[in-house]
């Protein structure tokens, strides 16, 4: 840009020198200093005294050939023949800021075009690389979704029939078998509810209400009692009255998953301590525990504490999603081979302060 302006000014200077030469020859018949609408000019003699000037700014710098100052651009040229006694010719124009604006516009325009091109290429390549991964996840989700639909009716039938059986007339041996069927059916039922929540109900609108947690814990403990008894795991309940404003289906999923995990990963003859206070609850088991470096991974989908127990590894992922939705705080403290305690703190305002 600077060289372009310098070229323009040099052309003006050349033009002015020609006019000065003509004037020098015609002088004094013609004594009108040559002026132009495109530029202003001045001539100075060898002793740097002014001969004539049409410059706006009279402050002259003889040390620079080309410079900008106070919104003007000035070029100094030496004359070989001192027409009218002029040794120095100054050509001055107003600094044109349009070039600056046009450069900014050019940069923005080109930048936007390149950004769009890169974004299109980026999207194209991301799509190519992610497609196999997305297909795998979709396949797994579709499989779970399809399976889930087929599970409901048989499980309901099994559970309903087990409940309706008259155990009084059965032998102890058969009673044990029925209890095992009940445990198995409830395990599948629990899994069914998790999968249903994950694949079908996850995006449903929450129906928040005041939920009595003490009653809910008692209810869910009773539900899982038969499952716990199969591993001879006992419950130790320390429940105070507490209510929370939440979707009952969702808080049930949280409690079910925590209790279910506490049973699943407990040792035989172990215990589960459930503590409920006004603004938090803790579910603590006496099981295998989790290695400290893996504590943060347990909420990821398809992650399991260990591979010795069955399951899809989706339970705690569901818990975390619900906890996050209601801005609750969940903390895990675990000691390997001693047990795990999961504490859920309620957000102020979601609990009944009465």
């Amino acid at each position: 840009m600077r060289s372009t302006q310098q070229t323009i000014l040099s052309n003006y200077a050349h033009e002015q020198i020609q006019k000065l030469r003509e004037l020098h020859q015609e002088f004094p018949k013609n004594s009108t200093y040559p002026r132009s609408q495109d530029f202003r000019s001045a001539i100075y003699d060898i002793e740097r005294l002014k001969i004539f000037s049409t410059l706006d700014d009279k402050d002259i710098d003889f040390t620079k050939r080309f410079y900008r100052k106070n919104g003007i651009i000035r070029l100094m040229t030496y004359l070989d023949d001192y027409y009218l006694g002029a040794k120095y010719l100054f050509i001055e124009i107003d600094e044109d800021t349009n070039w600056y604006k046009s450069v900014i516009i050019d940069i923005l325009t080109l930048g936007t075009i390149f950004l769009i091109i890169f974004a299109i290429f980026g999207l194209f390549f991301v799509k190519i690389f992610l497609d196999p991964m997305k297909n795998s996840i979709r396949l797994l989700d579709d499989f779970i979704k399809d399976t889930t639909h087929e599970l409901n009716t048989p499980i309901s039938a099994i559970l309903a029939n087990v409940e309706m059986m008259n155990l009084d007339i059965m032998s102890d041996r058969n009673k044990k078998k029925i209890a095992r069927i009940n445990v198995a059916a409830k395990t599948v039922s629990h899994l069914y509810h998790d999968l249903t929540y994950l694949t079908l109900n996850h995006n449903r609108e929450s129906k928040n209400e005041w939920v009595d947690l003490k009653t809910l814990f008692e209810d869910r403990v009773e539900y899982f009692a038969i499952l716990a008894s199969s591993k001879k795991v006992t419950f130790e309940l320390d429940l105070n009255y507490s209510t929370i404003f939440i979707d009952s289906v969702k808080i049930t999923r949280v409690i079910d998953n925590l209790i279910s995990n506490a049973i699943k990963y407990n040792k035989r003859n172990g215990a589960i301590e459930i503590t409920l206070r006004k603004d938090y609850f803790i579910v603590k088991d006496s099981g295998i525990g989790i290695e400290s470096e893996k504590v943060n991974e347990i909420f990821e989908r398809y992650t399991r504490f260990n591979t010795s127990e069955g399951g899809f590894g989706i339970g705690l992922n569901i818990v975390k999603s619900i906890i996050d939705e209601y801005s609750l705080k969940i903390s895990v403290s675990s000691v390997l081979r001693e047990g795990t305690a999961i504490r859920v703190d309620f957000l102020k305002g979601t609990v009944d302060e009465k």
Partner: protein, 113 residues
């Protein structure tokens, strides 16, 4: 013949130097007005060659005191026809006065508009 003419010019210039108020008028004009190259033209020639006032005056003074072909600004044709002038007989003071008058008379600064 040419040398005689030049001698006549400068003798006239020297004799006319008595009048302090018009050293230039009495010593320069009378001879130059008969020459084909006007004093105005010579002034412009000097100006084109020496540019500034001090340089102009110093160069002219040096030439008038010691005229040489090498230091003359006149065209070759002029030198061929008229040769260089004779050395001036004016005193430094008179010479300065005449040159100052010459400078002021044709100074372009006062005439450009």
């Amino acid at each position: 013949m040419k040398n005689k003419i030049l001698l006549l010019i400068f003798l006239t210039l020297s004799l006319g130097a008595k009048d302090n108020n018009s050293v230039y008028n009495t010593n320069c004009i009378p001879c130059h007005e008969h020459l084909p190259y006007s004093l105005q033209k010579i002034y412009m020639l000097y100006l084109k060659t020496f540019s500034g006032e001090q340089t102009f005056k110093a160069s002219l003074k040096a030439f008038l005191k010691e005229p040489l072909e090498e230091t003359s600004v006149m065209p070759d044709e002029w030198i061929e026809n008229f040769s260089v002038k004779e050395r001036t007989t004016l005193s430094d003071k008179e010479l300065d006065e005449a040159i100052n008058s010459y400078w002021e008379l044709y100074d372009v600064r006062n005439k450009l508009h």
